[in-house]
C-alpha cells in the first residue's frame, strides 16, 4: 500500500538529496529543489555536517504502524544544544510519527536515533524520561481518570521531590489548573486538557522537550503563552522540538525548521527562510494569515 497519492507526487518537492533519484518525479523535484536551494537546504551532507554536534539526531529513520507500510521514509533530523526546532507539514505527513519514533513509542524499522551520542533507537519512553527528554503528545495526552493534580504528579513521577516546586510553576502559567486541581482530567474541556498536557511535560524540567501541536485548541491568549513559553524554556537552555500547525507562528520563533511531507524532509532551513519561501507558503502555510 502506497500512501503517496498520485496527484501530490508530482508536486512533491525535493527528495532527500541527489543520492537516490529513483523515480521520474524525483528528477522533476530536484529541479525544483535547485530553484529554491538558496532558502531551503535539503542536502544530506549538510545534515550530516550540522548533526555532528547535535544533542538529538535521527538518521534515515524508517518507521510505521502497520506491517509493510512505512510512514517515515528515511527522515533525517538533528537539533543542536539549546536549539528550538520547528517541524511543519501537511496532515498525515508523519510529523507526530517522527516524534513518537524518537521517543520510543513507534517501532523504528531502520535508522538510528542518538541522544548526546548515545544510541537510543527503540529505547523505551520511560528510559528517555530519565535521560531528560520530555514529550507532549498530540492526542490522548492526559490521564482522564486522574485528577489534574494527579496528572501533574505523574509528570513528576521520576522526581517526586520536585513536585511542589514545579506545581507552583505550572500553576502560575495556567492558573485555571490550580483552581481545578481536584477535577478529573476526563471532564475537562479540550483546551484545558491541552494545558494539563503541557503542564505535565513541564513538571520534570527536561533538557530536551518534544512538543506535538502544543497550541492546538487553546485560546489565542494561551497560544501566545505557549509560544512565548516555548521560547522561554528554550532560552533557559532546553532543546525544543516543536510540531505545529500554527506554522507561521512556529517558524517565527524557531531557529531552524523542517518541512515534512510523505515521511521525508521536503525542506529545511532557518525559520525565517522557510516562512518566506513562496513554495513553502503555497504548499504548507497558506496565505490566510497574511490576507
Amino acid at each position: 500500500m502506497n500512501t503517496v497519492p498520485e496527484s501530490s507526487k508530482a508536486e512533491q518537492p525535493a527528495q532527500e538529496g541527489a543520492e537516490a533519484p529513483e523515480s521520474p518525479s524525483a528528477t522533476a523535484a530536484t529541479a525544483e529543489a535547485a530553484e529554491t536551494s538558496r532558502q531551503a537546504v535539503t542536502d544530506r551532507s549538510a545534515h550530516l555536517k550540522g548533526a555532528e554536534s547535535a544533542v538529538l539526531r535521527c538518521d534515515e529513520l524508517i518507521a510505521g504502524y502497520l506491517p509493510g507500510v512505512n510512514i517515515l521514509n528515511g527522515s533525517d533530523l538533528y537539533v543542536g544544544e539549546g536549539e528550538l526546532i520547528g517541524i511543519i507539514g501537511p496532515n498525515g505527513a508523519g510529523k507526530s510519527t517522527l516524534l513518537k519514533a524518537m521517543f520510543g513509542l513507534v517501532t523504528i524499522r531502520s535508522g538510528t536515533v542518538k541522544l548526546k551520542g548515545e544510541d537510543i533507537t527503540n529505547m523505551k519512553a520511560h528510559q528517555l524520561v530519565s535521560r531528560g527528554v520530555g514529550y507532549v503528545p498530540q492526542t490522548n495526552n492526559v490521564f482522564p481518570s486522574l485528577t489534574i493534580e494527579e496528572n501533574l504528579e505523574m509528570g513528576a513521577f521520576q522526581v517526586p521531590g520536585k513536585f511542589k516546586e514545579r506545581f507552583e510553576f505550572v500553576a502560575e502559567l495556567f492558573p485555571a489548573l490550580k483552581e481545578r486541581r481536584k477535577q478529573r482530567a476526563g471532564s475537562l474541556s479540550g483546551g484545558e486538557r491541552q494545558m494539563v498536557a503541557m503542564a505535565r511535560a513541564l513538571m520534570t524540567e527536561p533538557s530536551v522537550l518534544l512538543l506535538d501541536e502544543p497550541s492546538a485548541g487553546l485560546s489565542p491568549k494561551l497560544q501566545d503563552l505557549v509560544f512565548i513559553q516555548a521560547q522561554q524554556i528554550n532560552k533557559a537552555g532546553v532543546t525544543v522540538i516543536m510540531v505545529e500547525q500554527n506554522a507561521r507562528r512556529c517558524l517565527q520563533i524557531c531557529h531552524r525548521g523542517y518541512v515534512l511531507d510523505q515521511g521525508r524532509n521536503a525542506y529545511t532551513g532557518t525559520g525565517r527562510q522557510l516562512a518566506n519561501d513562496p513554495k513553502v507558503i503555497e504548499l504548507y502555510l497558506g496565505t490566510l494569515a497574511k490576507a
Binding site: 520511560h126 490522548n140 481518570s145 494527579e150 505523574m154 476526563g186
Partner: protein, 386 residues
C-alpha cells in the same frame, strides 16, 4: 408413653391388630401382606396432659414385603396450639435468621471482594478481562493445601508461603506470558479469549494433580460455632474477615495514595502516556500482577477455609466476582469492595424470601437493577462526551 392403645387396620378398614405401647412408648405389629395400612391412636388412652401434635391421630403407612415400617405419633403438652413451639416466635426468628444471613453475607462478600480486588486491579491496569482469575483463586487454595496437607506445615505458615508463591507466579505470568503478548500488540479481546484458554489449561492441570474431589485443610475444618447474640459463627470466620477487611483497605488506600498506586491508574488510562511521563509501565503492571496474584491466592485460601477446596472452586465463584466488580464500577478498588459486599449480602438475604437454590438469582437481579439506574456502576464515573 406407656399404655396407649393403637389400632391397626388394612386400608379398607379390616382390623389387623390392636396393641398397647410398652414402657418406652413403642409397639410393634407384624402384618402378613405388603400394602397400605391404617394406624389409629386412641386419643382417649393418652395421658391427660398430652395430645398428638397436629391433632391427627391416624397414619396410613405403606408396608413393603420383608420390611418394617415405622409409625410415629409425636406428642406435645395439651393445650399448646397445633404448631411446633419454635415456629410460634415467627417474628423473632425472622430477625435472628436475618442477622445470621447478614453476617454470612458479609463473610461471603468479603471473600468475593478480595478475589474481585485482584481482578479489578488487573483489569484496571491492563484492560484484561481475565476469565482465568477464578483459577488464580483456586491456585492459592491448592498451594496452601499442598504445604498444609502435603508438606505438613500448619495452615498459617502454609498460607503465608502460598500467598508469596502465588504472588511470584503472578509476576511470572506477566513476565513470561501476558507481558510478551502485550509486546506483540495483542488486543484486549484476543487477550480475553486467551484468558479463557488459560483458565481451561489451569483448571485441568489442577484436576490432574489435585483430583476432582473436595478437600479440606488440616486445621480449622468444621470448627464449632460460637454464639454471639443472634449470630453463630466459627472463630475462624472472624479472623478471616478481619484479615480480608484489612487487606482490602490497605490495598485500596495504597492505590489511591501511593505513587505506584497512582501510576497504576495512570497506566490504566493510557499506557503510552504513562511511559512518556517516565513511568516504567511494565514494572507497574508486574507489580499489579504480583499483588493481584497474591490477593487472589489469599481469597482462595479464605474461601477454602470457610468452605472447602475443589478444582472448580474459583470457577464457581467467578461470576459472583465479576458481578461484584461490575456492580461497584469497573476498575475501581473500592467499587469492587462495595459491589462484592452487596452481592454477598443479597445472595444470603434473598433466601429469606426465595428458595436457596435460587439465591444467586437474587444477587444477579440486583446487579441488573442497579446498573439500570447507574450504568457506570456504584462508584464508577460517567465519561464526558464531545
Amino acid at each position: 408413653m406407656n399404655g396407649v392403645k393403637i389400632v391397626v387396620t388394612t386400608e379398607s378398614g379390616q382390623p389387623v391388630a390392636q396393641v398397647t405401647t410398652n414402657a418406652q412408648g413403642t409397639w410393634q405389629v407384624p402384618v402378613e401382606k405388603a400394602g397400605r395400612y391404617k394406624v389409629t391412636l386412641d386419643v382417649a388412652t393418652l395421658p391427660k396432659n398430652a395430645a398428638v401434635r397436629g391433632g391427627n391421630n391416624v397414619r396410613t403407612p405403606t408396608v413393603y414385603e420383608g420390611n418394617m415400617s415405622t409409625v410415629l405419633f409425636a406428642l406435645q403438652p395439651k393445650g399448646a396450639p397445633g404448631q411446633p413451639a419454635e415456629e410460634a416466635g415467627g417474628e423473632g426468628s425472622f430477625w435472628t435468621q436475618a442477622a445470621q444471613l447478614a453476617f454470612e453475607g458479609l463473610n461471603l462478600g468479603l471473600i468475593i471482594a478480595l478475589a474481585a480486588l485482584g481482578l479489578s486491579l488487573i483489569y484496571g491496569t491492563t484492560g484484561l478481562t481475565n476469565f482465568a482469575h477464578g483459577e488464580l483463586v483456586t491456585l492459592g487454595a491448592i498451594l496452601a493445601y499442598a504445604f498444609n496437607v502435603g508438606v505438613g506445615l500448619h495452615l498459617i505458615p502454609a498460607a503465608v508461603i502460598a500467598v508469596i508463591l502465588a504472588g511470584g507466579l503472578g509476576y511470572a505470568q506477566d513476565r513470561f506470558f501476558w507481558g510478551a503478548l502485550r509486546k506483540r500488540g495483542t488486543g484486549t479481546i484476543a487477550m480475553m479469549i486467551i484468558s479463557i484458554g488459560v483458565a481451561l489449561f489451569l483448571r485441568y492441570v489442577f484436576l490432574i494433580f489435585f483430583g476432582g474431589q473436595n478437600e479440606a485443610f488440616a486445621q480449622y475444618t468444621a470448627q464449632p460455632g460460637i454464639e454471639i447474640g443472634p449470630i453463630s459463627a466459627a472463630p475462624k470466620n472472624f479472623v478471616a474477615m478481619g484479615i480480608e477487611l484489612l487487606v482490602l483497605i490497605v490495598v485500596g488506600v495504597a492505590l489511591l495514595r501511593t505513587r505506584t498506586g497512582k501510576a497504576a491508574r495512570a497506566v490504566a488510562d493510557n499506557p503510552a502516556l504513562a511511559s512518556s511521563s517516565g513511568i516504567n509501565v511494565d514494572r507497574v503492571i508486574r507489580i499489579i500482577w504480583t499483588m493481584g496474584g497474591a490477593i487472589a491466592a489469599l481469597a482462595g485460601i479464605m474461601l477454602g477455609l470457610s468452605q472447602n477446596l475443589k478444582y472448580t472452586m474459583g470457577q464457581d465463584i467467578l461470576l459472583l466476582i465479576f458481578a461484584g466488580v461490575t456492580l461497584g464500577g469497573l476498575g475501581t478498588a473500592f467499587g469492587a469492595l462495595v459491589g462484592s459486599l452487596i452481592v454477598g449480602l443479597f445472595i444470603q438475604l434473598s433466601t429469606l424470601w426465595v428458595p436457596p437454590e435460587l439465591k444467586s438469582v437474587g444477587a444477579l437481579a440486583v446487579l441488573i437493577i442497579v446498573l439500570l439506574f447507574r450504568p457506570q456502576g456504584i462508584l464508577g464515573r460517567r465519561e464526558r462526551i464531545g
